[in-house]
Symmetry: C2
Subunit: 421 residues, 2 copies
């Protein structure tokens, strides 16, 4: 769908709700699309990010890609850099009160955020697409005085606040729930009033805060925003949502090789999910991915490598993606055997397994060698040797392993490459 074809509200709605977890309330997005079309203006589509860590990761890009779709359709994307909200700290999903960040840390993080946002969104696209509007919510919160804050607090009751899942859970578990934490949803909601948002996009864990924006807009005489929640993708552990603080994130600024390797280390069940939410793949391509995943004959490693290449290409280009794939294959097809392995020159045409282990120095005695074979601790070129009678040909080099110790066995004539005496 291109930005110049100007599809009608219904067609836009169908496209924009793809991959969305929930539209709140149902029909609100269509209503806003129709209202904006009627007023011949773009929608103002908001997402906020608190610069609480120096980098954004693939989890953040789920929402950013949805924003990009709005941008491609000619709507006005408004990014809120939550430099004020970050100082208060969103307690969502945390069991403990998050430490408040210093103004300096937040400023430093905020600077790196914008660069990273523009790896997904277009900062200054060609018309009719619109440049991204970037707002810092410190601009309005820093101007608020005591009674402005009181007025904001006065718009909700304690019970309403404790309806928020995580607040109620922590309150009932008698975990410390700081009074200041209750202000966070109101701040996020107030951002919507300040920028007159038509639509706000956020993770499913932000539902309460997103809906708060509707309430505050209504109280301030604005039509309430449509809320689009996006799924939270799991991180590298395959279970918890991707988050810097869980150590399971892939940052969009990570070098190609690390990014590729991290994708490859993710559990297979994430392949389909990640493909859907972080690659910008279209419907046809996703259907193809689903078919492959359903095919028991297909090797998921192949699809995962494609996924890793695809993600690296998004942030570093095709060439870097190809290079990362090659490096990965070189390194990992040899299953992590170092290239500078110690060499041992073996004489003769073949040798029994016990003599190989003892003479190469990997086993200190014949009985240790037998025990290792019996326990499955011996491998030749990665393949386990469990037969005491195994005899190995010596015409080509191979890697001999006993547990974690290993040596490269070479024909006696190749001894010149031996790295240590």
């Amino acid at each position: 769908m291109s930005s110049t074809s100007a599809p009608g509200p219904e067609a836009q709605h169908e496209f924009l709700t793809r991959n969305v977890e929930e539209v709140l309330p149902a029909g609100a997005l269509l209503e806003r699309l129709r209202a904006a079309a009627g007023e011949r203006r773009p929608l103002r589509v908001k997402q906020g990010f608190d610069p609480t860590a120096p980098d954004i990761h693939l989890g953040h890009t789920v929402g950013l890609r949805k924003l990009r779709e709005f941008q491609d359709l000619g709507h006005q994307v408004v990014l809120i850099v939550g430099d004020a909200t970050a100082r208060v700290g969103d307690p969502s999903g945390r069991n403990r009160t998050r430490p408040q960040l210093s103004a300096h840390e937040i400023e430093a993080h905020a600077a790196t955020y914008l660069d990273q946002f523009f790896r997904v969104l277009e900062q200054s696209p060609a018309p009719p697409r619109l440049p991204v509007e970037v707002r810092h919510n410190l601009d309005w919160f820093a101007r608020m005085g005591f009674f402005d804050v009181m007025r904001l607090l006065g718009t909700v009751t304690v019970s309403q606040m404790l309806e928020r899942d995580d607040f109620s859970r922590r309150f009932q578990a008698e975990q410390a729930l700081g009074l200041h934490e209750m202000v966070y949803p109101l701040m996020q909601g107030w951002d919507s009033v300040e920028i007159r948002a038509d639509v706000e996009i956020g993770g499913t864990d932000q539902k309460f805060n997103l809906v708060m924006g509707r309430d505050l807009q209504r109280l301030n005489g604005q039509p309430p925003q449509a809320v689009l929640t996006m799924p939270l993708i799991a991180g590298l552990d395959g279970e918890q949502k991707m988050s810097k603080s869980y150590g399971n994130a892939i940052g969009v600024s990570e070098p190609p090789a690390e990014m590729f390797g991290k994708v490859m280390s993710a559990p297979d069940h994430l392949i389909g999910v990640w493909w859907r939410y972080v690659t910008a793949a279209d419907a046809a391509e996703l259907a193809q991915v689903e078919r492959t995943l359903a095919d028991r004959a297909a090797n998921p490693m192949v699809l995962k490598k494609k996924l890793a290449g695809r993600i690296v290409a998004l942030y570093h280009g095709e060439a870097e993606a190809e290079r990362a794939r090659e490096r990965f294959e070189t390194q990992f097809s040899r299953r992590e055997i170092p290239t500078d392995l110690e060499q041992w020159p073996a004489e003769g045409a073949e040798m029994g397994i016990k003599d190989l282990l003892v003479r190469s120095g990997l086993a200190r005695s014949g009985s240790e060698a037998w025990r290792a074979v019996d326990q499955g601790a011996v491998r030749i070129d990665q393949v386990k040797v469990t037969d005491r009678n195994h005899r190995q040909g010596l015409e080509k080099p191979f890697v001999l392993q006993l547990g974690r110790r290993m040596v490269r066995v070479v024909p006696a004539g190749d001894v010149g490459h031996r790295s240590r005496p």
Copy 2:
């Protein structure tokens, strides 16, 4: 105890804890008195008042009289005019969120408050007593920005706040408890930090807020204040605490006659309590009052008149008190019979009750007169006449009543004072 005799901390403590409901924590006042004596400085003794109504009433004076005792001992009284707290509204003891007052209303009320405070405290006493220090808490709250408020909120948890009796009650009853209301105790506590209070005095219903001051002082590196709670005296209904909004209050600015009359209308069981808490009576005098109250032969009306005279004298002087007493007796010994009552000259030595009623014009017929007698609606000089055979002597004037209609019956020779033909 005079201000010049400089009694030691222990003697001061014994005197100052008289009539106090609770010292929190136990021993804290003595500790502060000793610390101040060691540093050769006066204690800073705080009480706050929110100018939420135009007048202060006798209930407020319970604390003010305790402050006066501190002033008389040479300590520094600090009155906080809660022009900021009043805007937020203390939810104590209310079932419903109190409406926020306008800045204009608060300013107007605050102006009248100070005058009234100085009917109990001495604004500029002779040394060594110290002038009262008056502070407006808007001075510091108006300077607070968003993050100052967040830091203040961050010092407590939601659970701590809901430990406050009335919050917890309202929360559990699912009554609206505005998030901003939770800030009130923190504001009151912050006042103590701002003025470096050694002691804070408040009503028993303020206990939670008073102790909050201790917490915030500790967090800000100050020795925590001693808290003195004073009892809440009941108002004219004899049950609910005295409060302008319950309509059971006696304002310290009310005219002498109204003040006297209101005290006289209070139920007898308040005589001892009011004498103790609002008259500044000393121990010997209170003992005398208690003895009189315990004496079944004594008429409580006599003691109540003394109390009313005493209270009027405190705010209007002895002469006005005497005048109010006289006016009261004139008016009420005649039980509210107007002095300009219509006169009817009756001829003869005596007359039957029916004839009196018909001839004076109070009854339109004999049957109406009988019915009125039977129903107990007829009185002569306040005394019910229920006997159809009653005959009344006519040598002296008397008041004849049928229901709410009344006439002064006079011997026919006195007719000259008749007000209407």
